[in-house]
C-alpha cells in the first residue's frame, strides 16, 4: 500500500487577506476576523493524493499545524477523500518560522508512521516562503522535488515528474519515499460533495501537542525559530515619489487623453 501524507495549511482567505494590516499605533497585526481556508495549492496536493488513491492501493493522511479553527480545513480534506486527519495544535507551536514549522510537521509525519510520499503545496498564500516542503524533506532525509506540475510516469517506486522552471521545466527521476511540492498545473481540485461531507463526519481527527510528538518546547514555535521578525515599518503608496494626474471625462475622452499623454511622453 502506498502511504501518502499531505501537508495542508489553514490560511486567511486570500480574497480578503489584504484587509489584514499592521496597526500603525500598536504595530500588531489586525486580523479583522478574516476566515481561514485551505491554502489553494494544498487543494492540488490533496487532489493528487486522492487521485492516486483512486488508482492504486493507497492511504491518504492530511496533517496541519495551526490553531484550533484549522480543524475545519482538515475536516474539509477528509470530505475530499483523505482517510485520516492530524492537527498539530499547541500554544507552543505558535509563532513558528518555516524551519520550526517544518520541524514540527516532520516530527508529526514520523509519528504517523512510514510514508512513501509526502505532498505539499509549492507555496502558502500567507507566508509564501516555499520553504516548508523542502525543509520537511531535508529533515526527514528523503529526496525532494519542488514545483511539480505533472507526474509523467510511475514505475513502481521510481517516478518521473516534470518540475516547473522560470522558463520551462526539468524532467526529474525520483525514487520513493520522496517529498514533492506541487503547482496549480498538476490537476483541477474536485469540489466538495455532499456524500464526502457526510462520510467525513465519521472520520477521526487526531490532535497532537508537543508532548504527543515528544519534542522540546525550545525546538518548536517562536523559540525553535532561527529567524525573528522585527522592525515593522508601515509603508504605503503615500511614500511614493509620484504625484498622480487623474484623467477624467467620458470613457472616450479619457482614453483619448491618456493616449495623448503617453504619446507626449514618447511612450507610444
Amino acid at each position: 500500500m502506498l502511504r501518502i501524507a499531505v501537508c495542508v495549511k489553514a490560511v486567511p482567505d486570500p480574497k480578503e487577506a489584504t484587509r489584514i494590516k499592521i496597526d500603525p499605533v500598536t504595530r500588531t497585526l489586525l486580523r479583522r476576523d478574516v476566515p481561514l481556508v485551505t491554502n489553494h495549492l494544498d487543494r492540488n496536493a490533496v487532489e493528487a493524493a486522492v487521485q492516486l488513491k483512486e488508482e492504486l492501493d493507497a492511504h491518504v493522511a492530511v496533517i496541519s499545524m495551526g490553531p484550533p479553527p484549522a480543524e475545519t480545513i482538515v475536516r474539509e480534506c477528509l470530505a475530499l477523500g483523505a482517510d485520516e486527519g492530524i492537527l498539530l495544535c499547541d500554544q507552543a507551536f505558535g509563532g513558528a518560522d518555516a524551519f520550526a514549522t517544518a520541524y514540527s510537521l516532520a516530527k508529526g509525519i514520523e509519528k504517523m508512521g512510514g510514508f512513501d510520499l509526502v505532498l505539499c503545496g509549492m507555496a502558502s498564500s500567507d507566508s509564501g516562503t516555499e520553504w516548508v516542503g523542502p525543509k520537511i524533506g531535508a529533515l526527514l532525509g528523503i529526496p525532494v522535488v519542488t514545483a511539480v506540475r505533472e507526474i509523467v510516469e510511475r514505475d513502481g517506486r521510481s517516478w518521473k515528474v516534470k518540475a516547473s522552471l522560470e522558463n520551462g521545466y526539468r524532467l526529474v527521476r525520483v525514487r520513493l519515499p520522496a517529498l514533492l511540492t506541487v503547482t496549480r498545473e498538476l490537476n483541477t481540485p474536485r469540489a466538495l460533495s455532499f456524500s464526502g461531507i457526510v462520510s467525513a463526519r465519521k472520520k477521526e481527527i487526531t490532535e497532537w501537542g508537543i508532548n504527543d510528538l515528544g519534542v522540546q518546547e525550545e525546538a518548536v514555535g517562536l523559540r525553535g525559530s532561527p529567524t525573528i521578525t522585527a522592525n515593522l515599518t508601515i509603508m504605503n503608496g503615500k511614500d511614493s515619489k509620484r504625484a498622480v494626474e487623474m484623467i477624467t471625462g467620458t470613457r472616450e475622452e479619457a482614453a483619448e487623453r491618456l493616449v495623448e499623454k503617453l504619446a507626449a511622453a514618447g511612450m507610444l
Binding site: 520522496a178 498622480v244 472616450e252
Partner: protein, 350 residues
C-alpha cells in the same frame, strides 16, 4: 580591489551561490555579488562565490569583476544540470568547513529549491524573497520583506550562516572591473551521493511575446479583470502596445496566466519605461517588482485604490469597458501618426 585576508576578519565570509546559463554568469548572480561586496566591506570580511556547473572554463571572470575575492568552483560533467542531492551535499559540506557569516542565493527556480535544502541541513534560518539587505549596528543582517502593508526586517541572530534569497533586479548591476582577479578553489564532486533524485533533462519553453525582463512596455493585469474574458481584453492592450504581459498573484491563482508572468516580491522584478497596471490594487508585494519605470499608469474602478498613490496617470473606470476603447484609440493614434509621417516624407520607394 584588495584581497581580504580571512585570518584577520572579524567574522566568516559573505557567500553568494552563483548560477550560470549557457556559459554566462546570470545577471542576478552578478547583482548579488555586487551587493554582497558592500556587505563584506562593511563587515571587514571577504566575499566568496560558489559556482557549480558542467563546463565553466572561461566563465568565472565576471564574478571577480563584480567583486568576488574567491570562487569555489565545482566544474564537472555531473554538475552540468542542477542535481539537488549533489549540489546540496557540496554546499553543505563546504559551508560546514568554512563557516560563512552570510549566504545569499538568487530567487531562481534552482535557488528556491537549493536554499531551503541547505538551510535545513545547516539548521539555520532562511528568509524568502528579500527586497533589501542591510547590516544593523551590530553587523547583523537585516533581511527586508514586504508584509501586510508594511516592511518587516527579519534577522537570524544566533545561527550561521544568515541565509536569504533575492530576486534578480532588486540590486543594481555593479560596476565591473575587468582587471580584477581572485583565487579559484576547485571543489571535488562527492562520490557518495544516494542518487535518489536526478534531473534528467532541462526543457526550455520560451513564452510568446516580449520577455518581461527586457520589455520597455509592460501591461500588468490583476484580479479586477474579473474573468478570462476580461483578462483577454488586458492581453489585447499588451499586444497593441507590443508590451510584455505581467500579472499579480490573484490572476495567476485564477489560472488566467502562468506563474512566470507574475511581477513582484516572489515573482519577477522588472524595470520598463512604461508600466500600465490594470485592475490591480497596488499592493506592495506587487509594486516592489517594478523599479525605475519612467511612466506609470493605473486603471482601476475604485477611485480610492492605493494604486493611484503610486502612479503618474490614473483612470477611474471599469477596465473591462475602458481597455477596449483604449485599444481602439491607440490604433487610431498609430494610423494618424503613420499617415502624418508618410505625408511629410513622401511615399517611400521600395
Amino acid at each position: 580591489m584588495p584581497m581580504h585576508d580571512n585570518m584577520g576578519a572579524r567574522c566568516g565570509a559573505v557567500w553568494v551561490i552563483a548560477e550560470q546559463t549557457d556559459g554566462r554568469i546570470r545577471t542576478g548572480s552578478l547583482q548579488l555579488v555586487g551587493h554582497a561586496r558592500k556587505l563584506a566591506n562593511q563587515l571587514g570580511t571577504c566575499l566568496e562565490v560558489v559556482l557549480l556547473g558542467g563546463n565553466l572554463v572561461g566563465v568565472i571572470q565576471p564574478l571577480f569583476a563584480a567583486g568576488a575575492d574567491r570562487v569555489y568552483l565545482g566544474n564537472d560533467p555531473d554538475l552540468a544540470l542542477y542535481q539537488p542531492e549533489i549540489y546540496t551535499e557540496m554546499v553543505v559540506k563546504l559551508a560546514t568547513e568554512q563557516e560563512p557569516e552570510i549566504m545569499l542565493v538568487g530567487s531562481t527556480s534552482m535557488g528556491r529549491e537549493l536554499a531551503p535544502l541547505v538551510a535545513a541541513r545547516l539548521q539555520t534560518g532562511l528568509t524568502a524573497h528579500c527586497i533589501d539587505l542591510v547590516l544593523d549596528e551590530n553587523g547583523i543582517l537585516e533581511q527586508r520583506v514586504p508584509a501586510y502593508g508594511g516592511l518587516v526586517s527579519i534577522t537570524c541572530p544566533d545561527r550561521r550562516p544568515q541565509m536569504a534569497t533575492v530576486a534578480r533586479g532588486v540590486f543594481p548591476m555593479p560596476q565591473l572591473d575587468e582587471d580584477s582577479t581572485g583565487e579559484v578553489v576547485p571543489l571535488d564532486v562527492p562520490d557518495e551521493v544516494p542518487g535518489r533524485v536526478q534531473t534528467l533533462e532541462v526543457i526550455r519553453e520560451e513564452p510568446e511575446g516580449v520577455p518581461l525582463e527586457i520589455a520597455s512596455v509592460i501591461v500588468a493585469g490583476g484580479a479586477g479583470a474579473g474573468d478570462l474574458d476580461g483578462w483577454c481584453k488586458i492581453a489585447d492592450l499588451a499586444k497593441v502596445l507590443n508590451a510584455a504581459l505581467g500579472s499579480t498573484r490573484p490572476a495567476v491563482d485564477e489560472g488566467w496566466i502562468g506563474l512566470e508572468t507574475m511581477i513582484g516580491q516572489s515573482g519577477k522584478v522588472v524595470s520598463p519605461e512604461l508600466y500600465i497596471g490594470v485592475g490591480l490594487s497596488g499592493e506592495m508585494q506587487h509594486m516592489v517588482g517594478i523599479t525605475g519605470a519612467k511612466v506609470m499608469v493605473a486603471i482601476n474602478s475604485d477611485a480610492k485604490s492605493p494604486v493611484f498613490e503610486q502612479v503618474d496617470y490614473g483612470v477611474v473606470d471599469d477596465c473591462r469597458k475602458f481597455v477596449p476603447v483604449l485599444v481602439e484609440k491607440i490604433k487610431e493614434h498609430r494610423e494618424r501618426a503613420l499617415s502624418r509621417s508618410s505625408r511629410s516624407h513622401g511615399p517611400t520607394s521600395i
